[in-house]
């Protein structure tokens, strides 16, 4: 979806302000919100693309006024409510009002380190040859999905060059809908600065995105 999260090239946000000696978390609630989100993915059964969509799918003023971990918290609440794990009444009341969903798996302490260290590879075995070759010029499709996509608006319609082929990976757009992983070839596509931002752009600039095959069309 073309939401407020898709920020590449937007103007008016001002300078980047680094924080000296920044802590990992700012306050106890950020620690707990982060850990709850990570730990709930097992009982919740959602995937990373569903989580991303739950965070970004909100009115721009809401997305832009929340801090990062407030967005995580809101996303977590959405994911849990959608699956009947908690109700919005319970969240508002701040206490349990209905019994837990049965047969839900939790993340036990002994699984924490192995789960994080294992991660979740998104690479899958290819079932068809790659359509594009490294060095080939491609055009990014001009598409505007209503649902989750990882094709940023600032590259749509533009010409780029295939620079890397990363193999076949779980396709985020469909995986976010819970209709299967639908793996596709994934490429790094490089763009010249002036192609994206106009002829007055610094000619030494180039930008790349990682793009699944169905984002690309042959030139």
């Amino acid at each position: 979806m073309d939401g407020a999260h898709d920020m590449g090239g937007a103007k008016g946000f001002g300078p980047v302000v680094p924080e000296p000696n920044e802590p990992v978390f700012h306050g106890e609630w950020e620690r707990r919100a982060f850990a709850l989100t990570v730990a709930m993915s097992r009982p919740g059964g959602w995937n990373i693309d569903m989580s991303r969509f739950a965070r970004e799918n909100r009115p721009p003023e809401d997305y832009l006024s929340k801090s990062y971990f407030q967005i995580w918290l809101a996303g977590l609440e959405t994911l849990m409510i959608e699956r009947g794990l908690v109700t919005s009444e319970e969240i508002e009341a701040g206490k349990m009002l209905s019994p837990p969903k049965p047969d839900v798996k939790t993340l036990p302490p002994q699984d924490v380190v192995p789960t994080i260290r294992r991660g979740a590879s998104t690479e899958r075995t290819a079932t068809s040859p790659a359509l594009f070759a490294v060095g080939e010029t491609v055009r990014m499709k001009e598409i505007h999905p209503q649902t989750h996509t990882r094709l940023p608006q600032y590259v749509r319609g533009h010409l780029g060059t295939i620079e890397l082929n990363h193999g076949c990976h779980v396709f985020a757009d469909l995986n976010s809908l819970g209709v299967g992983e639908s793996p596709q070839w994934l490429y790094t596509v490089r763009f010249d600065g002036p192609e994206l931002w106009g002829k007055d752009t610094d000619p030494t600039l180039s930008i790349s995105v990682d793009a699944w095959e169905s984002y690309l069309e042959r030139v």
């Binding site: 999260h5 920020m7 590449g8 937007a10 103007k11 946000f13 001002g14 302000v17 680094p18 924080e19 990992v24 978390f25 106890e28 609630w29 620690r31 919100a33 982060f34 850990a35 709850l36 730990a39 709930m40 990373i48 991303r52 990062y68 918290l73 908690v86 319970e90 969240i91 701040g94 206490k95 349990m96 019994p99 837990p100 839900v104 993340l107 302490p109 699984d111 924490v112 380190v113 789960t115 994080i116 260290r117 294992r118 991660g119 979740a120 590879s121 998104t122 990882r150 094709l151 940023p152 600032y154 990363h166 790094t188 030494t204 180039s206 790349s208 995105v209 990682d210 793009a211 699944w212």
Partner: protein
């Protein structure tokens, strides 16, 4: 909001240094943890372990070891550039948000910078959780359109002839910048070189410390 039925998870009371002014968000998170614990979905001990892992074990010191080794060991450098995920795993760093690693090397001709314009993708096993600025609208919006301006915000000025290459992490590939080894460090050990590597130099918004800058 609750506040009376926390007896079953006393573990987090010691975190509460200030009971007076809890914000709405703080109360909401606290109540949510209480609900999820009571429902049996989360074990508070697992939450404590997750926090400890990301505050103490997973952080930029891991990436610093990777860079210092690449600077001091040519065979490792070659393995890192060929298959970064495997070379990083040699140092025992792997997993969540670092499953598919690519290392991009700075040269006098090209400077690399990493961003995630859509959210906050970042190579956790080697750099830890991202700083606030990395997740902020100013960085996400401008890194791809005005990276030299962003570098200025960090006090970094590169020669006009140096090409700038920005990597927007839009899928599950995670990028680590291998900065240029500072001049005058011939014969230094990996441990000595590690003192020169900064987190920002591995994102591409900074440069390593140069000789004379270290305390």
């Amino acid at each position: 909001m609750t506040g009376h039925d926390h007896d079953h998870h006393d573990h987090h009371h010691h975190h509460d240094h200030d009971h007076s002014e809890l914000s709405e968000t703080e109360l909401r998170v606290r109540a949510l943890e209480s609900i999820l614990t009571e429902k049996g979905y989360v074990d508070p001990a697992s939450l404590d372990l997750l926090i400890d892992l990301y505050e103490k074990k997973i952080g930029p010191r891991n990436g610093i070891r990777v860079v210092a080794k690449a600077w001091s060991d040519p065979a490792y450098h070659a393995r890192l550039m060929k298959d970064a995920t495997a070379a990083i795993a040699e140092l025992d760093y792997s997993g969540r948000q670092g499953e598919h690693m690519v290392v991009v090397e700075n040269t006098p001709e090209q400077h690399n910078m990493v961003v995630c314009t859509l959210c906050s993708c970042y190579p956790h096993p080697v750099l830890g959780l991202p700083p606030v600025w990395y997740k902020s609208a100013p960085y996400r919006s401008r890194a791809v359109s005005d990276p030299r301006g962003v570098l200025q915000d960090f006090g970094v000025a590169l020669p006009e002839t140096t090409r700038i290459r920005v990597w927007d992490s839009t899928a599950e590939i995670r990028y680590l910048v291998l900065p240029m080894r500072p001049k005058g460090t011939d014969g230094w050990s990996a441990e000595q070189l590690a003192e020169l590597v900064t987190r920002d130099s591995m994102i591409g918004t900074g440069l390593p410390k140069q000789l004379g800058e270290t305390a």
